[in-house]
């Protein structure tokens, strides 16, 4: 039974995390960065990224794997921000405005994603990935050609000089770090954006509560075994769609938080890597395609970003080229995703085989088990 896992099993379970910690620890000294600096970076990046990563949880519970479709949420968030800037709504109000505008869009996007993924059961991930590309095309169509052309834009400052289409980079001056600064705690030389963390904690609480609801239970059921859940009368497809919608909406808010911290927005590229970083983070945190917890998220964000902070410098110092570190962290990112997907797929096959072996000579195995089970 699961309590007594062999050491080897433990290592395969956590291979990704272990490998990662080793690499990072090795890289820190050679980067020559002060712990002080790294810690501050971590605090900032936790605030910046955690929300996005948390958005991945529900689809995993619902057995839909890693929601690469979260990019759609990110785009909705960006549309929200564009409008906030356009109307020059500043400060936290600006963020709330963006969120409010982004919500209905991301709900729609989430529905679309869920609908498509239901048609592609068994290959949700790759489909979600391609869907993100596809919608990105639509996004560009709207933002780059329709805004200022079909949708009126009142602030010329954000338009391209040709008179329509949003500029390549937007200055989010009005809302820049307004959430972080709303309640900034300066302690021991560290600046801690309390407000941001409060929002994140609130989300964690929501997730925990959500798992206790009927809907949450249904998601788990669907995630474990669609056919059984269906036989028991759980509306499988609908549940899956809901999971994706929530994830998308959260991704929308997450992107807004991310960008307010960045202070600038690359209108056409800001969302390119959203899912990449989020997914890499949660996997690094020790999550798998089928199983993820809130701790996974935090561990992941910290590990991944320590590495991201450290490697460029390390590369610089070791090979005399910052680019190497730059590429290296990309490589690590993709490598981690590939590795953990492989490990997961491979492990689930192993488990299947083990299960079958358990079945051989049922008569022999079951008798003691029965009495032992009965004893409880």
């Amino acid at each position: 039974m699961s309590e007594n896992k062999s050491i080897g099993r433990f290592f395969t379970e956590n291979a990704v995390v272990i490998v990662f910690v080793l690499v990072t620890v090795a890289a820190i000294p050679s980067s020559g960065l002060s712990i002080q600096y790294i810690v501050q970076e971590m605090i900032t990046r936790l605030g910046r990224n955690t929300f996005l990563v948390l958005a991945l949880l529900l689809p995993i519970y619902a057995g839909m794997g890693l929601n690469f479709g979260m990019t759609l949420g990110a785009m909705s968030g960006q549309v929200g921000l564009i409008l906030a800037i356009n109307w020059n709504v500043a400060g936290v109000e600006g963020l709330v405005f963006a969120a409010l505008v982004g919500t209905p869009i991301s709900v729609l996007m989430g529905y679309v994603t869920g609908f498509v993924l239901n048609k592609a059961k068994g290959r949700e991930m790759v489909t979600g990935y391609m869907l993100a590309f596809f919608i990105n095309g639509i996004y560009q169509l709207v933002v780059l050609y329709m805004m200022g052309f079909i949708f009126p834009i009142r602030s010329p400052a954000i338009l391209l000089s040709r008179g329509y289409g949003i500029r390549n980079t937007l200055n989010l001056e009005g809302v820049r770090q307004s959430l972080d600064d709303a309640l900034m705690l300066k302690a021991g030389g560290f600046a801690i954006p309390i407000a941001t963390f409060l929002v994140i904690i609130a989300l964690c609480l929501f997730v925990i509560w959500f798992k206790k609801t009927k809907l949450g239970q249904d998601m788990r059921a669907v995630g474990h075994d669609m056919t059984v859940a269906d036989a028991a009368g759980v509306p499988v497809d609908r549940t899956r769609i809901i999971a994706i919608i929530i994830s998308t909406v959260l991704a929308c808010y997450g992107q807004i938080i991310f960008l307010q911290n960045m202070g600038n927005m690359a209108t056409y590229n800001a969302h390119d890597q959203t899912s990449f970083f989020a997914v890499a983070a949660i996997l690094v945190g020790g999550a798998s395609v089928k199983k993820a917890t809130i701790p996974n998220v935090f561990i992941g964000v910290i590990l991944l970003h320590v590495l991201f902070v450290v490697t460029p410098r390390a590369g610089q110092n070791l090979f005399g080229s910052a680019m190497i570190g730059e590429y290296f962290r990309q490589f690590i990112g993709y490598g981690v995703i590939a590795l953990s997907l492989v490990l997961y797929a491979w492990r689930s096959r192993q488990d299947a085989i083990r299960a079958r072996e358990g079945l051989r000579g049922v008569t022999a195995a079951a008798k003691p088990a029965l009495s032992e089970g009965g004893a409880k």
Binding site: K214, Q217, H224, A229, G361, K367, G373
Partner: protein, 540 residues
């Protein structure tokens, strides 16, 4: 009991699938607290009857049924299993519909969890209510109590012995407050003796609580033990409906398999002379899901037709699949004295054995490819036939010409109904698909041919044809054949000896001429103990 009015009454129910009758004018009644044993061979109509009772869509799709099904005297016809559940009928399936990652409790109350409404209900609907785990647990424990078995409400299904899974299933059915009628389809099939005992006790407890139970099982002694009445189905007829009191296992067995029709059989069957043993199998085990073979030893002689019979799930299918290397297997298999490497289909084929799988669409055919491919493929891969060298044999290409000749040859020989050799396999009827599978096997000119369920799901005419073909090849080319089938009659019609497999072991080997009740007993695992000896002798 027995005095109050029946909960369920089946009145003159008949059902036919595409012309062939599977149920004919079946009647019986069931009173509260009564346990009804429902027995019959595979294909006797048990499953169909239950499907009708539960309003499975298939029934409606295949043209509904005749007769009436009444609950409390009122005629009902359910549109879906869910309606049946609402009407208080619970079903426990053979294969578990449980979620491994969930606890006993969670499974018992699956999708019927107790909840406390939350503020968000008004916004997002009832599914936002919060689970009331203590209440859930209480209900689960209540159900387990009723069953009178020991189950840990917080144990994960994945960590349970099979027996407990079975109990969990039953517990789930009885938590429905309305459940008054419970159907158990082969509940003991996967259980060990001891577990089965506990289950039977549990069933009696339920009966005491006034729940009526339909108990489907092939283990006749269990039926005799637990049931108050037994109904025997044979070829869609309820040929017996009697109180169990005073009935012996042997009686039931003979009712089950008894035939009035004398099977026409080739004159020489049963008294032919054979050559040396061609295949010798010692202590074979096969890990085939649902058809596990535990310990089987037998030998086949040159030129004979050996039949394997037995009820579904007992392991007869595992034998050929194991020897041909399709499922993990162990033990020793000698073909003409040479050791056969198990778990490698290629080696098995190369040694001159061939296999017609029972899973026609899954394993037997390339549904999306042409008949030519289907028939010639194996021969091409194993024996390098139907390849023609190009550029002085630098490499060899598919010889479509040769493949078509071959195909046309077999299309004629087995008269396969098809538009052309190029037609896709999936467009053929079941019977013709089966012939294609046979052709594929014949194409490699095997010394030993395994045929598994050759007549499953094909119409009567085709059945006859397939059997004749097998017999012809056996007689004309001296091909030794091992035939596995759930249909005793067809085994008896062409086989020289028939081995009955039960619980993964050979219960006994009989001549086709043996008395029917004998077969019945072996199948229902009664005579197993004393017959094993005879089996081994017979195989010597």
């Amino acid at each position: 009991m027995g005095q109050e009015s029946p909960i369920l009454s089946i009145e003159h129910v008949s059902k036919e699938f595409y012309g062939n009758v599977v149920l004919h004018d079946v009647c019986f009644e069931l009173r509260p607290g009564e346990i009804l044993g429902l027995v019959g061979e595979n294909g006797a109509g048990k499953t169909t009857l239950m499907r009708i009772l539960f309003g499975m869509p298939v029934i409606a799709e295949t043209g509904g049924y005749k007769g009436r099904v009444c609950i409390d005297g009122k005629e009902v016809s359910f549109a879906s299993p869910f309606d049946a559940l609402d009407a208080g009928i619970g079903m426990v399936h053979q294969e578990f519909s449980l979620i491994p990652g969930f606890t006993t409790t969670e499974n018992i109350v699956l999708n019927r969890e107790s909840m406390r409404p939350s503020i968000l209900n008004d916004v997002f609907g009832d599914r936002m209510s919060v689970l009331d785990r203590p209440a859930m647990r209480k209900r689960a424990e209540g159900a387990i109590e009723k069953l009178g078995v020991k189950l840990d409400p917080d144990m994960l299904i994945s960590e349970m012995p099979v027996g407990h899974k079975q109990f969990t299933e039953i517990a789930r059915e009885i938590t429905r407050s309305k459940t008054r009628l419970l159907v158990l389809d082969e509940p003991t099939a996967v259980l060990t003796e001891s577990e089965a005992e506990v289950l039977l006790v549990a069933l009696r407890n339920l009966a005491k609580l006034g729940i009526a139970i339909i108990f489907i099982s092939h283990r006749l002694h269990e039926v005799v033990n637990v049931a108050d009445r037994v109904v025997v189905l044979r070829d869609g007829l309820a040929i017996k409906d009697t109180p169990v009191a005073g009935v012996t296992v042997r009686d039931i067995a003979s009712w089950m398999v008894g035939r009035h029709v004398a099977t026409e059989r080739a004159a020489d069957v049963g008294n032919r002379g054979f050559g040396e043993p061609i295949l010798e199998v010692e202590r074979l085990w096969v890990d085939m899901p649902g058809e596990t073979v535990r310990d089987v030893s037998f030998s086949v002689r040159q030129g004979e037709i050996l039949g394997f019979g037995g009820l579904a799930g007992q392991g007869k299918l595992g034998v050929p699949n194991g020897i041909m290397g399709l499922f993990a297997a162990g033990g020793s298999v000698l073909l003409k004295g040479a050791e056969v490497a198990l778990n490698s289909p290629r080696r098995a084929l190369e040694m001159g054995m061939a296999f017609v799988s029972e899973d026609r669409r899954g394993v037997g055919l390339l549904l999306d490819e042409s008949l030519e491919w289907n028939i010639a493929f194996t021969a091409m891969q194993i024996q390098d036939k139907y390849l023609k060298p190009i550029l002085g044999g630098i490499f060899r290409l598919r010889d479509d010409e040769g493949m078509r000749k071959l195909t046309e040859e077999y299309v004629k020989a087995l008269d396969i109904k098809c538009t052309s050799p190029r037609q896709k396999a999936k467009e053929l009827s079941g019977g013709n698909q089966q012939k294609v599978c046979l052709a594929k096997a014949f194409a490699v000119k095997p010394d030993l041919l395994f045929v598994s369920e050759p007549t499953r799901g094909i119409d009567v005419g085709a059945k006859r044809l397939v059997l004749d073909t097998l017999q012809r090849y056996n007689r004309e080319y001296g091909t030794t054949i091992v035939m596995v089938s759930s249909e005793l009659e067809e085994l008896r019609s062409i086989c020289d000896r028939i081995a009955i497999v039960d619980e993964g072991r050979i219960a006994g080997i009989l001549p086709p001429t043996a008395e029917l009740a004998e077969f019945g007993l072996l199948m229902s695992g009664e005579a197993a103990a004393k017959d094993v000896g005879r089996a081994s002798e017979a195989s010597k």
